[in-house]
Amino acid sequence: MIRFYHYLRGYLKIKIWGFSPERFINLCGNQDILLWDIENHEDYFIMFISIAGFKKLKTITKKTGTRVVILKKYGLPFFYPKIRKRCVFAIGLFGCLLLLQMMSHYIWIISFSGNQIITDEQLLMYLKEKQIYCGVNKKKIQVEQLERDFRHDFNKITWISAKIEGTKLFIQLKENDYLKREEKEQVDTGMDLQATRDGTIISMITRSGVPMVRAMDEIKSGDILISGAVPVYEEDMTVKNYIFCKADADIYLKCRYLYAGKIHEMYQYKVYTGREKKVPFLKTREREIKLSLREPSFIHSDCLMHQNKIELIKDFYLPLSYGNYQYKEYVLMEKKYTKEQVEKLCYKKLEDISETLQEKGVQILEKNVKIKKESANYLWTAEFLVIEKTGKLIRTQTEAPNTDQQ
């Protein structure tokens, strides 16, 4: 704090030498002149003194017969005249600070986290409808209201938190995997379970609805497996009415999946020449300025974009990005696949398919692959024998009997 005060008032580093430096220090003390960091260098003394104190030194130096030399000047009073000479720079600096201050009132980045089903684009579109976008004034955003709106308009969102950090609007949310409301609406009309594939039923456990098939039955795609209309019988075993419900059952089906594809025996691959070119750019929200006069004259090239948002301090983003396009030249070469390579490629594809099937909860019992060469192509077919859970909910076809006629 004292140092800052000294800086504001300005101070000097001086060197004194002569007949009696001790007397010089004493007289300074008597005249209330503050001296600090006094160093003794045998023949001379080096110390710091305030500007006001330095102005009083004339009589003291005369009395003591010492000589004083200024070694260095510190502080704002010495900095100010320099700035005055560079008037435009000072105005620019002031303008820059003013601009920064003004910029800090706006939102320059919107980020989301926790969304898996709802995409960022959907959320951004929704925000745009609510007049919230990059460049909007922070005052216009009412965070609590925004959270309420989100919860109301997106059924999937179970929890949401929005906060403004610097110039960044940060929205965290959690989603629900299924929609309870929609289900409730559909339950009133009754839902059937329909087969999605051909196959044999291995096992079935019905929780609600009337089973239309049994285990070990052969079924075809589109067959109704469980009916959502539960009949209520009269005494003469005629249907009096139906109670509609949502059919629910675990039905496991043994079925076959068939995949086929072809691989051309010739393939192209890239050989990088090693020639590279970087084109720097500056980007605002809508415009992009490339800081190069010529585009690279490569026939084939990969383009990598490196982009950085300008962040002055933490979470203080400006609507400016910088970066570069990195062009890497390559030449396309052609080569023929060997049989081993084709086999490898096929197995890789099969692995991918079986992985996606397993992710769906499908149990693979068998898999058969056939590779056949036909002119310039390799044809492959793959057959999977699997057990999977089947059943798709559809609106029930059964209609309630007309009770008016009775």
């Binding site: 007397r23 004493n26 300074c28 209330d32 503050l34 001296l35 600090w36 960091d37 006094i38 003794n40």
Partner: protein, 98 residues
């Protein structure tokens, strides 16, 4: 003559001390005694001095109202110096009244 003068000064001082003691007044103000505050052997803060008589790396001699104070040590330097107080930094080995 000198002896008489000296004895009179001593008498005056003892009388002054007695008055200050009996009235329990601050001794540093009335008697002009040094106030030396030592922080370990690295720092000394001195008040109630009249001036600096000698200043070198190994010795700082201060003039008080009644006596002189000699601070001996190594790499001694004055951190700041005003009419009221001063701060001495360095490796202090000895504080002596003369």
């Amino acid at each position: 003559m000198n002896r008489k003068k000296l004895s009179r000064i001593k008498e005056l001082e003892t009388r002054k001390e007695k008055v200050v003691n009996s009235l329990s007044l601050p001794k540093d103000l009335l008697l002009g005694a040094f106030i030396v505050t030592l922080t370990g052997n690295r720092e000394a803060w001195v008040e109630n001095y009249k001036g600096i008589l000698e200043y070198s790396d190994e010795c700082i001699l201060l003039q008080g109202k009644m006596c002189q104070l000699r601070i001996l040590g190594k790499e001694l330097s004055v951190d700041y110096y005003t009419n009221e107080d001063m701060k001495i930094k360095g490796l202090i080995e000895c504080v002596r009244y003369e």
